[in-house]
Every structure is written in C-alpha cells, then in structure tokens.
Symmetry: C2
Subunit: 351 residues, 2 copies
DNA sequence: CATGGTCTCTGTATCGATACAGCCAAGGAT
DNA sequence: ATCCTTGGCTGTATCGATACAGAGACCATG
C-alpha cells in the first residue's frame, strides 16, 4: 500500500510539488484560494501532511531533544530525583514547542554510539551520560549539555559535588562519628579491606561509577571522605540499586554486622529513606541510635526528618533545557548552589 | 562547515558508498579487513555513522515510539498515575531497544496534527489523547494504541470505567450517602444548578472532558452517578488541576459551603489525598466526619487509608507498549480488571 | 575445460520533502 | 511604448542513506 505523497496531491490538483509544500509551510507564497483548494484536496486524499523523516533530512532540524540515560527507561520514571530533573528539563522544551526523547543506553559496550546516532534530535542532555555517550554526540556534531562538571569544552549544569560531600562529611565529623558506613548503589563496587583512598582498588571503584555515567556520585564520594577525615573508619556497602527498597535491604546487612557503625552515610535520599525504614522496623531511633544522612533533599526527606544536602534538582533540569535550546546563551557551565540541611536523623556520637 | 558523509568516507577509502553503508549495517556483506579499514578511516575523519534522518527516510522505521499527552510535559512527570503508566509503557520498549518520545499536544486547535506529524515515530500511544490526535495518527498511517475504550477499529488498553464508577457510587449509596460532592479537575466545568444527567449542560461538561482527552474520566463520572442513584444530590466542584495541592484547596471550598456534603468523591487519588490533607488541617476524621473516596489506588492511597478503585496502572502502560511493538498480537482491545478497595476513609452516613 | 556456486563489491534508483533560481503575466512609472 | 516591479507559480538539484540487481574473481566439481 503506497502512501500518498506530496507528488500525488500536486498531480491531483494540477500544480507543482513545490506549491503543495508551500501550501503547508509558507502560506504567504501562494494565493489563499489555491491554498485552500490544495489543503482540502490533500485531506480528501488522505494526505496527512509533510513526512517527518523527509523534512528532517532536508531541514536538518527535528524540534526534538534527547535525554541520555545510562539506566533503563523505567528508572527514569521510578526515581524521584530523575522525575524532578526531567520535569525541570521539560519546562523550556514545552515552552518552545519541542518534544523530548528518552534514550536509554544499554550497558553493552559501544551501544552508546548506536542509540545516540539512531536518535534524530537537535540536542542532547546527558542526565546520566557516560564518556562514550559524550564522544558519540561530539562525533555526530550534536550539542550536548551534561549534568556533571567536565572539561572546558563541555556545557554543563551541576552542583559542586565535592564541596557538598565535604560539607556533609565534616558535619558527621563534628558530631564525633569515626566509624561510618558509606552506602552507594551497585555501580560502586566496594573495595575489600581497609580503606586506602590513594590505592588502586578505590580508584577502580570510582572508575566503575564513572563508566556507568555517575560522575557526580564519584566526586561526591571523594568529597565525603575528605570531609570525614583520614582517621575515620569508612566501610563501603553496595545496595542492589538506587531505590528505597534496596536501601532498606542493604541497611539490614550494615546493622547486623558485628561492629555496628555510628553513622550510615547514603549517596542519595532514596537509599537513606530505605535505611530509615529499616531502622523503624528494628525499633531504632535515627539520630540517637544511628545517624543517617542522605543527599538531594527530596520532598519526602523533609517529612522524614532526614539530614541531607539540598540541591536544586528541578533547576538543574530546567537550565540544561534552556542551554540546549539557546546555543548563544552564556555562561554555559553552571554550578548551582547546594546547602546542608540538618534534621533529626543526624546526632552526636554517644558511644 | 559541511558535515562529513558516507560519500566522503567512501571516496577516502576508495570504495563505493554502498560498501561503507554495509560496513556499518551488514558486517556479513564484506570482508573483515576492509570493514575494519573503513570503520577506522571513518572514525579518523570524524564520521559518526549513518545519519538518522536519512536512514529513517529510507528505511521508514525509527525504532522510536511516541506518547501523546494532552497535558504539558511536566505533568507527565509530576502525576503519579502518569509516572506509573509511563514506567509500564517503557518496559517493553526498553526490552526491544526502542526509544520513547513524549509529545505534549498544545491546546491550540489543530496543533494535534502538527505535533504528531512532526514526530517521526513507528507508533503512538494515546495516554491522554484527543479524538483529533487519533484522527491525525490515522491520517498519517501511524498505528496507535489508546488508553480508553473507543470504536471497534481502534486498539486500546483500558479498564471498564463505567463499571468501576458504578461500583464506587454504589458503595457510597450503601453507606447511606445522599449528598455528595464530586471533585473533578478543571477540564470538567461544573454545570450550574440542580443536576440533570440528561440535560444539555451536563452533556457539554462531559464533552469538554472528552475534548481534553479525558474520555476515561467522563465515563467514570457517568458510572459514579449511575451508582449513586437518581435520588442522590450531587454537586460538582472543579479543582484547578489534577494534583494533591489542587485537591486540598478545592476541598476547602466544599467543606466551607453552607451545606456540608456527607461524602466527597474524587475522580483521582491525588485529588482525594489533597482532600485528606485539608481534613487533617481542620481536625476532621475521614470516614467519620466526612467520607472521601479516590480512584487509582496509588501506593500512597494504601498508606493514607483511602477507599478507592484499584486499577492496574503499570500493566495498562506495559500492555499498550506490547501491542504497539507487536502488530500481530491479539486481542487488541484489552479491558483489564479493577477492584473496589475499601479502607477507613469511607464510612456510614451518621447525619 | 566448462559449469556452477560463493564471496565481495559496485552502480543506480529511490525514499519525500525543501531551497533556490527563474519564469510569466499584470500593472505602475516614466 | 518601454522598463521595472511584484505576485504567483514551476523545475530541478539536493539532503544522506539503503535496496536491489548484478558484475567479477575465485574455487570446487564432474
């Protein structure tokens, strides 16, 4: 079943294809009666209007912007941080009449390129993007805005994760905590044995995070360790995922350990909320029996009394969208403010 | 700056364009050494791989599926129902390596067609789609799966909203409620004066909902009224939006009215949760002082003791995706089960 | 030595639309 | 009467890739 094209319409009306094209795109280029006749005939023939792919090829623009996700599509909708960021990102797009494509990049090596190439978009936001994705975008000439600090040639909208981590670590230190469990998600493979920040295992673990596109988390962890100080005992525990349930499960392990830590420091609020769930199950009081901290300051953190770092998630997304839509806008490397929010889940070390 | 194309690569290597194309897409069609040479040269020249638009034009497939939203993009990420549905929808897409585009259709008349035409997608899901959007998709020959029951020629994944509404209405009736406020979102313009289900104002109000793409809500309201019975006094209150905050505000008005209703029946859980918030502010006990019902059974509804209708939101999305990916699959009109969940927010009318 | 089959690679038409230059007729200025 | 402008429309090249048919080269077989 051959689709009806502009050519068919042109033939039926008895005008040139160009005139039909103009009827749809540049009303000022032809007389109104003819335009009406063409549109009417087109609709009668079942012609739905200029073909998108052909138009994109010719015009080189799609009015569509992509978001690179190193996680699955489902993750984008399940994680509150992600949802907030995307909501912010969508604001300027909506205002500009643009659409938005979600590009989940499978973990298979090299697939970054394929997914990004297949996507016909005018620009990309690296919500959670690997270096390979950035390279792919560059090689295709697609502008890209990242969500973490990068080299001088890149555009980004981020916070100073090192400073934020340091601030949170220092808070715990001030409270007297010297035995801390650091709860990260599965991408961070805990190096076995005593912590050696300068050692190879630790370096590799951070590298794994970066490979998964979690640069900000890697930087955040460095900051945390810096703030906690060299004399603090830090044990790493990996959660199965970055979710509330995974946090609850992982925290169970940490608490059952022979030597219970005095504080559990989570790299995200969702993990921390899961830890609070686990504490509640065990009848432990956060901030008194165990100190718990998160990162992000989701709305739920406020309700749960979680000590955390507030970052302007929605603004991060919104500004990324604005930079993408307006290539002239400067500066193109934005570091937004963050803030330590102390609530009841953190308290002095009483042991 | 002219982009580098396949032709350039072919020239540089000294082979035909077709061979370069094969090097990227059909490795079995040429010898490995030549393929390697081509890929290497291409990468050295800064060729990022086959252009997406051109490929789409030629192949007629994009591996991208669209979701039509009559609301803004932001809404898609803010409403829990929407987020759950999208998470379900994304599952099969992710498995098939496809991407997903969100198409917010502005309210301007006729813009449905434009947005849908501009989107180069292999299929559409009408999460919240108007008739105009469906027409546009049909005229472009794009397959579309709807989220509400439609005519026999359409594919859809929905629940029986009339039966569900009736069940909920009957529940309230059994509890003795005969003075009910029906809280819907702004798309439903409450007809003034006494309710006349067969009258023109009511018909127009339902029509407005349909125009906004909220067919399921319109059907649901009919069902509710049917279940409540003809002797039940029903007053309509429109919330400014379908959100928790809007529900809280709107419920304030309903409660301050001279004649307080014995039950507030909300067309969604988010609105109902907002009503519960308002009751808590006023020190009223849901189910005793005022009965409140929702619709959807979001996770939060369980925690808040909300009486509601459970529908398989995630499954609705997932199955819509599966139907879209597999045109052969039958049946293509799925009505999923729903269930009345009675919790503490509904109780007998004690007045 | 002819025949047939594989394996590689090539040339051309095509997907559906748009940009650009240009053509013709009508009307106003000189 | 001639020149020039303007409005309204047309023809063709082009965007960048892929499908398809087919051409040589090479080897095995009878």
């Amino acid at each position: 079943m051959p689709r009806v094209t502009m050519k068919d319409v042109a033939q039926a009306v008895g005008v040139s294809v160009m005139t039909v094209s103009n009827a749809f795109n540049r009303p000022d280029q032809l007389s109104t009666p003819l335009r009406e006749r063409i549109l009417q005939r087109a609709s009668a023939m079942g012609y739905g209007g200029p073909n998108a792919a052909a138009r994109h090829l010719r015009a080189g623009r799609t009015h569509c912007y992509g978001v690179v996700l190193s996680e699955s599509l489902g993750y984008a909708f399940n994680d509150p941080y992600s949802v907030l960021w995307l909501a912010g990102f969508s604001e300027p797009l909506q205002a500009a009449g643009a659409t938005m494509t979600l590009l989940p990049v499978p973990r298979a090596p090299g697939s970054d390129r394929d997914v990004i190439r297949r996507a016909s978009v005018d620009g990309l936001a690296g919500f959670c993007a690997t270096h390979a994705a950035l390279e792919a975008a560059r090689s295709c000439g697609i502008p890209m805005v990242l969500a973490h600090t990068e080299d001088a040639d890149s555009d980004w909208v981020a916070i100073d994760d090192f400073a934020a981590g340091t601030q949170l670590g220092a808070h715990l230190r001030r409270l007297g905590h010297r035995d801390v469990v650091l709860l990260a998600d599965r991408a961070f493979t805990a190096p076995p044995g005593p912590l050696d920040v300068d050692g190879e295992p630790f370096r590799l673990a951070l590298h794994a995070l970066a490979r998964a596109g979690l640069f900000d988390i890697a930087i955040r962890i460095r900051g945390l360790l810096h703030g906690l100080g060299p004399d603090c005992r830090v044990r790493f525990v990996g959660a199965g995922a970055n979710s509330r349930d995974a946090g609850r499960l992982a925290s169970g392990h940490a608490l059952e350990a022979a030597e219970r830590p005095t504080a559990i420091c989570c790299i995200s609020d969702v993990l921390a909320l899961g830890v609070l769930d686990a504490l509640a199950d065990d009848g432990l009081v956060p901030g008194r029996d165990v100190t718990v901290t998160g990162f992000d300051d989701l709305p739920e953190a406020g309700r749960s009394g979680l000590t955390t770092i507030r970052q302007p998630i929605r603004d991060k997304g919104r500004l990324a969208g604005e930079l993408l839509l307006d290539p002239e806008r400067t500066p193109r490397q934005l570091t937004l403010p963050h803030q330590l929010v102390v609530r009841t889940s953190s308290g002095p070390n009483l042991t």
